[in-house]
Symmetry: D4
Subunit: 250 residues, 8 copies
């Protein structure tokens, strides 16, 4: 390693302090930072690697999965098409695909899922995004409870489940036209609510922008919002929160 060698040279008097100092300054940050950031990544790596498959070139996608499988590394792909699945499968027969969440997975040994994240949807049309969130959270080691089709247009559906939802460390709320679910839920729980607007709907929903605005403007306390249809992103935040909550119980 360069730094080690450099310090040895300083110690040995092979180079002057001034020279060493100069060299240190022009060392690419990465060389120094890399180990640290690597360590940093390791800390996080309980979450495993995730590939955003949408739009990835076929060749590239297959190679990534091959590499992970060779290294026996757990890996997950989001937004994968059936075609991508079949392509990867030719090379990596162990790969699994879930057509609802569009998730590709390799080699998920059974691990103990900890804590609890509640994944709630307003309607049935939001389930695809919800499963992306739920399966991502599970992939990251969180236990997930699913509460689907509890939109506010029929508030009794939500009220009948509220006590179970209150048990979670974090609540993911997924809603399209009916972005209102996040507000109602946040008023009934005391844990962080991660709101995911979906592009479900038509007309003035503007492909999810309306639901996004509804959620960002919510009067209820404890809501923060991720991008439209971004189930993965919500799960990432939720898994971070859930990990903080369960860490000290172990």
């Amino acid at each position: 390693m360069d730094v080690t060698k450099l310090l040895q040279e300083v110690k040995d008097g092979c180079i002057s302090i001034e020279e060493a100092e100069k060299k240190l300054k022009i060392l690419p940050y990465e060389d120094m930072g890399f180990a640290k950031l690597d360590h940093h990544r390791k800390l996080r790596s309980g979450f495993g690697e995730v590939i955003f498959c949408s739009g990835k070139e076929d060749e590239y996608l297959v190679k990534i999965f091959e590499k992970f499988v060779e290294n026996e590394t757990e890996v997950m792909g989001t937004r994968a098409t059936i075609d991508q699945y079949q392509l990867v499968k030719k090379v990596v027969p162990e790969i699994q695909y879930d057509s609802v969440s569009k998730i590709l997975r390799f080699n998920r040994e059974i691990k103990e899922l900890k804590g609890c994240i509640a994944v709630c949807t307003a309607g049935t049309a939001d389930i695809s995004v919800a499963e992306e969130a739920a399966q991502t959270a599970e992939f990251f080691g969180s236990k997930v409870e699913r509460f689907y089709d509890i939109g506010v247009a029929g508030i009794h559906r939500l009220l009948s489940k509220i006590e179970d939802i209150q048990e979670a460390n974090c609540i993911i709320v997924i809603a399209g036209m009916e972005g209102a679910l996040a507000s109602v839920l946040a008023g009934l729980v005391d844990k962080p609510v991660i709101a995911v607007p979906t592009s479900v709907g038509y007309g003035a929903n503007m492909k999810g922008l309306s639901a996004l605005l509804t959620m960002i403007n919510s009067c209820a306390n404890g809501i923060s919002v991720v991008n439209i249809d971004n189930g993965y992103g919500a799960a990432y935040v939720a898994a971070q929160i859930n990990r903080l909550a369960v860490k000290n119980n172990e």
Copy 2:
């Protein structure tokens, strides 16, 4: 009246049919339409005259009120400032002003209010718009029940009032940032819900556009929407509906 006179002339042979026909065709539509539309207006006139005061020139505003008072005609002004009130008051001392709803009123004899319209708000900041709606509806002869500050961030406030709200013939829902209240309410009643987005809020509320979009995109059945802060407009529709509901009971 011109038409009568014309027909008389036809009868008397003073003018030929061709000439009469020609004259009829170029008669301003208004002359013919007027009576009819007047009659039409009379039908509606249970609602009384309403002036939109905002931006009206002082001189003009005072004259209008003077004219109505001379004719002993009931009249109401919306979006009036205190300055406008004081101006009108000099000439029409009987005029009344409500600083919350910004409504100017003349000569409202006590009349029996009929049926029922529920006026609901999400928060206390929406009350100004709500009072514009409520007092307009009362001016139009509808009985009004007020349910303020029952926003969905604390759903129990709403649920404790729901049975009273269900009694109304029409529900006006007024909400700013928290446009969600319309969806929740519409899922709990079987009467038309008129939703009024308000400009209350800050940031991404975009002066009420966010709430407007939330309400337009609602999944709940039975919701229609009026312009931002348009309490008057909602009351007009609600009073029409309420009148339809009570008409046959008399």
Copy 3:
């Protein structure tokens, strides 16, 4: 039923009042609310069940219709494709499909349609949305009069029909680029006007947003607005209003 049993246990002294109280509090709201809401739903069920078919999974859609047909329950599906129709037809041969309104219907026995809703369009391109509205309103038991292609660019078409339109209890106005029809009509009738912007048009119509804004900003009294292309939603509100108007005449 749990509540009954619980109260019996209280009466029998099997459990203490404190325990009963505690149990009551954690009873899912639904259990208590359900009967009530069910009753509530029954009240509304003169309207029958409606399925939003667009985007529904094939398997799920077929099952729903099967279930309703088994129960001899009247059911309607909106936004159905021909493919969905053919799929459902295999299992439910009695199903009917209207390619203009994209409505699937089962078992509509001839029932008496009551009151009157006027369904008006600005152009011929709005007819698909208009038929969704008209047939939905009929499905909900309302009599419907259709006034198509009476847009304001040729005002005489509208004026020649205005007296018939004035007879209705509620007017649905469907217009795309020419959102102006709602304003003109509302000025000529004294009943509620439900405006439906459509996505018909091109360029700066922004898929219906322009028409939506025109309608929301209308100066005419008595207009409220539903989502772009939402014929179903307008019909729901109109049928509620029409029901209020006819209820007391029976």
Copy 4:
């Protein structure tokens, strides 16, 4: 003048053709173009000079008017404040100011106004923009007929005036929230309609953008649109059209 001199030098053999050619090519376009464009401006100058006063520095504004008055040149200023008027008046006592149209004028000798432009407004709140249009058109030599407060929410007002409006060579339609007036009028006349959206209104009118969109999307034939509140711009186009129509009658 350079070109004259240059040609003289060519004629006199003082410079070679090649040199002259080269010089001609590097002559600033303006030098050549100026006369032509000046001539061009003269052709148009039946319209007189117009100053956009809004935001102009006081000193600059006063100087401009002084200069015109010295030259006995007719001049008009739009969007002038009362303060600007009083400032200019100190130096140019003959200046006139109209507080409705916010127009400053100097020395408008009585000239014969020709042809006819109809200036129509939907409401009374649009009159300020309408007067800017009407007085500009008059300043440019066009005869103007005013038809104010004939918005479509009371269609009979418009219909009673339509035959007079049909007499004009060009129709300017000024409307805020109720952008619909342009469509209705264009369907009833066979002359060009210049539509001016105004910022009058509130809520979702978005300071005139809604009316602009309504007008741009109009289904009626013969409409073109200028910027929000741009009465001056509409008058300019209308005066051009009116001039084309009257030119050959003289």
Copy 5:
């Protein structure tokens, strides 16, 4: 005709004046207006009938053309696809189709084109819209001069044509991303400029909205704007203006 008959009956004493008056009032406006509006339409009908083909149902489209051909009436269709052309052609073999302008035409006898409209485009990609405009204007009897690909990014192209353009009675300017052409041209001519934004472009052009805004905000005098890609609409206005200009020369 009803009115004639009615007047006869009045004259003959068959009905009283009161009755006649009443009947006159409830006569559909259309009956009276019709003749007048018909006459009005006739005045305009130098322009011939134009069908907006886009989205028209096949069956309906074919019938319209059949009817016109039977009546030997000149007719034009805009936004027609090749498929629509081939469909119509089966029934109306004389129909003609231009694949650039997407215009279907029947039976255009050679008529003398009068006056002059200049149709200008910024780029070659705008030619489709330009041909819609040019051929529509010709169909309406106007002579058209085409000036294509003279966008401001190479100002010399425009300057070399400017004197020819100045000859026209009206200038149509068609530009996509480079909406600037309208401003430059309007500064160089003294006739009305009709600006047509096009959806040509990518990225932040927002399907023509950017060009629309550029044109609406132009500082140059004499510009008015029609909808994105609306070549037909621009031609309609231009032909009205051209007709006014040539009328008195005949």
Copy 6:
């Protein structure tokens, strides 16, 4: 309490089970829910009461603070003006005001702050929002570390602080024009990042919407977003997360 009394009556045989059941069903949800929700509120009440002062009527605002002070209850007001402060101070002299964060506070006894929330800003202009966030989080019992003016335009400022930031349980990132800070930070930490766009800036920042969009679209993992300038909202979520993290260490 009604329920207790009711159960006692059941036990005593004073009312039948059927009657009791019926009464239970029509009991306002609130009565039952209240205790529970109250308890729920108590759980959260470590967070204390917070009043949104902006736009509150003077009289109302003073009363609220008086009530809390009487009850010796800790209370905080956000978005308070100096005028509001002086008004409240007259009645509640112990009230404290911070002019940077615009926060009013009463009676904050020194309590131990736990865990750690990092509050970071891109520039100095974001500090007002940051202090609202920081002081709210402290009010809710969280320890706060401030890292101001570490925007990405000078990345070294951020890098020099990154290790301290990594220690926090949750990171609040506040940035206006430069919404990029959230992405960079989220890539360097493994804890949830709550992003707060601010309205700081000019031009195309659109009062914070640009920063909001930047943050919502961030590619970095672990970011969720609250409304523009909503320091309070971010602090609420962060305090919830921090509480989850520290709970089990006690």
Copy 7:
């Protein structure tokens, strides 16, 4: 040439100076300007000709390339599809196509590339736009260094390359959702940064508008922005800057 001939006629006395002057004024600007502009174009022509292929008619596209090849002129086409490539290839077999950048090229002799432009991307999905930029810059004679996938979500990737990037005369930064890269880079270099937002992403990225706004609002000094996905446009500006930087070293 007309001007030459005209001057000869002046010299020969065939026409008067006045006549010559008049003719000069009406000479199309182009005739005079052309040579000059042509010369101007020649100056720039180190950049070669570039065709924007997207949407070009097949026939036209083939002809353009044929013409250039005949003239042995270097030419490049951007946004070409594979189909367009194959079409052109039939006629111009020497044509080359790069499927990543979608660039068609003819006859690029090896020329020395000068100076240095750094082309940086945030992610791998931006590479297509980056290659359009890089290959265009190379076509225009600039040396290019590529730095791909150095987005700010993993800041170490960027920091490890920064010294190489600092060597360039101009930096092109291409980023989609993560528009933040431009700000970070501009803070680390002292050369102009040309930012290219890309349409890569989903949800609230609004096809690149979010990234565009991020970049336009950047706080960092030295950034200017081109249209979404406009790699070509960025390369044009960068090559101009690079040429200015290297010109004087030769």
Copy 8:
């Protein structure tokens, strides 16, 4: 300095290589980077320090200027109000203020301005932004030529100046409603054009967004864009380019 000291300790054997390595890794980046970035800043410091005064707290602003003046360091402030000027002047009497550009300056010794930047505006209302740009560029050592009021609505004004503009190394184009100037100019020069949209205008200009879109969508080659009204930002980029162009001539 820490690094020096550490290396000395390594050399002296006071700490082991491993320890030194570890310490190096956790050294804040800043400590190492600072010198380098400082050096980097020095390289740029030919540009001097610039303070964005708008919204800065008075106390803070005064201190900054005091500090710079103490250090005899040249400094400039943008967007300063007259009030800020008078405040600073009390402490720093040498401070200078330009009320057009809103620029505060200290101690600008006369230095030689090099190269050339052309600053062009469409109208006179854009001059404030133009002077911010021009004076900033001068402060950064660039020679500036001003070309004001040459908007495209009178193209001859621009054409008469074009040859002077072509002499510059970089052109800044400042335009509000008439964003078109950038396109026209970029077609006439072969140097980079930096376009600055301004908020000048009214109606649909949307405070400069329209001009921004016009410029971003320009078809002309060689244009890049900065934020609305951002004269400073344009000058920064232009000065960087100008410096690159003149560097090698010295």
